[in-house]
């Protein structure tokens, strides 16, 4: 996260870290049920086998495991069938864990939006992750407040790339707060008045964030994929297992 700040431990209990033994943290992810995560599909490019992955929950400092930490292995990776690494549309995947997490105040799933529930432009939401900060990779989870940008306005920043309705843009014209390399798959969450948080986006792509050319970040529009997510979880829970 660029221009963010260190999070208080336990503030984002749905945030998880996708790790491989060889490389450590690779991508962010979001807990949506005791055995299910969302992340983006491009995290698995070249690493499609579930066996190479582990998922860490309830952690703030990657370098100092806490007593609230839980680790699970990956049972199934479900990439969106329309994902294409050259186009980056449909950059979303679902991960099934080998074993359910124990729900605690440090490890807790987030609510998904309903199918038609959209987040309005100019709404302020939060992004989180252990991605690049512009000058270093952090150990502690970072958070940043970003403003939702309309697709039309977002398109003006990326004239070589089509912004589709499967995407959500958030950030600032000045690029002051933005996601960065290593934040992919992490959440963009918005708070409703009753203190209820909803997952509206997954960090996907944007400018080369630690170059001087900035712009908003592009996130996966989770509302668009609700039917697909529910269908996949149903199929893998009740039909395939």
């Amino acid at each position: 996260i660029l221009g963010g700040r260190t999070s208080r431990p336990g503030r984002w209990p749905w945030q998880c870290s996708l790790q491989s033994d060889q490389s450590g943290h690779i991508c962010g992810c979001v807990l949506i049920a005791k055995k299910w995560l969302l992340t983006v599909a491009h995290c698995f490019e070249g690493r499609e086998s579930p066996a190479v992955w582990k998922v860490v929950f309830g952690i703030n400092n990657l370098d100092h495991p806490s007593v609230f930490m839980q680790t699970r292995l990956v049972k199934t990776i479900i990439l969106h069938p329309r994902y294409n690494r050259a186009v980056v549309d449909y950059d979303i995947s679902i991960v099934e864990l080998n074993e359910a997490v124990n729900e605690t105040s440090y490890v807790r799933p987030i609510c998904l939006p309903s199918g038609g529930q959209l987040v309005e432009p100019d709404t302020y939401c939060y992004i989180t992750g252990w991605g690049h900060m512009g000058n270093k990779m952090p150990f502690k989870l970072q958070e940043g407040e970003v403003r939702i940008i309309s697709l039309e306005q977002c398109q003006s920043y990326f004239d070589m790339k089509t912004i589709t309705t499967r995407m959500l843009c958030a950030g600032y014209e000045s690029g002051s707060v933005d996601s960065c390399m290593g934040d992919s798959g992490g959440p963009l969450v918005c708070e409703h008045p009753a203190g209820r948080w909803t997952l509206f986006g997954l960090t996907s792509w944007g400018s080369v964030c630690f170059s001087k050319v900035l712009g908003p970040g592009v996130y996966r529009n989770v509302s668009h994929f609700i039917d697909w997510i529910e269908r996949q979880i149903y199929i893998h829970t009740f039909l395939l297992n």
Partner: protein
């Protein structure tokens, strides 16, 4: 040592000659939260349930059993008895634990064992009351409760009826006392929390002035610093001298002294004056000796593209003696190259 007093560390002491160590225990301060309201402050381990440390006692089955059992109101002095066996009193003169009196043990067992039986649980083993001395017997001292001993531990709330319920159940929206007294007067303060002035939201005291706004109007992060007149407050509440603001050096630990130092300010006529924030004050930039490469630099610092257009204008036409200012128009932000994150 057998021949003398117990030294600081029984296990590793070289003060005792070989084979002359005895199983001496030390008095230690009671840290088991459950038993912090006892009329004594020091304990000695192992305790009467076989736990070797207070940590072990704190995670033991008995540590969760007794607080639950005390809620049944089976015996007024049950918690006192429980604590005398969980954290036995230590006599600092002889470094020995003092047992509860047998009658206290027997009364606790008589009145509460049957309650446990109802839910299919057993009275803790290792609590054979015959191991404890009779009051005033054999010159042995033992513990009996005072009349005014606090029945509820600090982790419990005492209902108006006298019953103890877990403090965490106070003001949780569910009545736990039979007289509902645990749900009365439920403000933030009663719950050990701080109340945001604007919306009555309760937050933990540790969240005040921790650099993270928790109240909607950020009042929990106000008045956190007492900076001197020549200082300004960083985002993390540290104080840094005004002259260090926007001086190109990082002085606040969170770098907030070097944020937004170059801006374009729009005035009433929508002219975009180049503005520099320096020593905590905004200045329009004087046009004397201005060069085009400085316009490029300013646009770049703001993340904007070029080519820049620069105008030199008098800020107040009615005051011709005023110096000229730099009016800057930058290009659009350069198109971003896409990159997966």
């Amino acid at each position: 040592c057998i021949s003398a007093f117990c030294s600081d560390s029984c296990g590793s002491s070289s003060l005792c000659s070989t084979n002359s160590r005895t199983n001496c225990s030390q008095c230690e301060l009671i840290t088991l939260e459950l038993c912090m309201n006892l009329p004594y402050n020091f304990t000695s381990y192992p305790n009467y349930l076989g736990h070797r440390t207070q940590k072990e006692a704190s995670i033991s089955w008995e540590s969760s059993l007794f607080p639950d059992l005390v809620q049944t109101n089976c015996y007024k002095y049950l918690m006192f008895f429980a604590c005398t066996i969980l954290v036995p009193k230590c006599d600092p003169r002889i470094h020995e634990r003092i047992p509860p009196c047998r009658a206290l043990c027997e009364h606790s067992k008589e009145r509460c064992e049957s309650v446990l039986g109802i839910v299919g649980l057993q009275w803790p083993e290792d609590t054979d009351c015959t191991q404890f001395p009779e009051e005033n017997s054999d010159n042995q001292t033992c513990l009996t409760p005072d009349e005014d001993v606090e029945e509820c531990s600090p982790s419990h709330f005492k209902c108006r009826s006298g019953r103890c319920v877990l403090a965490s159940r106070r003001c949780d929206g569910q009545a736990d006392c039979e007289d509902d007294s645990d749900e009365e007067n439920c403000g933030c303060r009663e719950r050990g929390l701080w109340e945001c002035p604007s919306n009555k939201l309760c937050i933990k005291h540790t969240m005040i002035c921790d650099g993270f706004p928790d109240c909607p109007d950020k009042l929990d992060e106000k008045n956190c610093s007492f900076c001197k007149e020549d200082e300004l407050e960083c985002a993390n509440h540290y104080c840094v001298p005004r002259e260090l603001w926007c001086d190109g050096q990082l002085d606040c630990a969170d770098k907030s002294d070097e944020w937004s130092c170059v801006n374009l300010s729009k005035n009433m006529s929508s002219l975009t004056f180049l503005t520099i924030h320096r020593s905590a004050t905004d200045y329009h930039v004087c046009a004397d000796d201005w060069q085009e490469n400085l316009s490029q630099l300013a646009c770049k610092q703001m993340g904007l593209g070029g080519p820049p257009m620069t105008d030199i204008v008098q800020e107040h036409e009615q005051l011709p003696h005023q110096k000229c200012r730099v009016l800057l128009y930058c290009g659009r932000r350069p198109a971003a190259r896409m990159s997966k994150r």
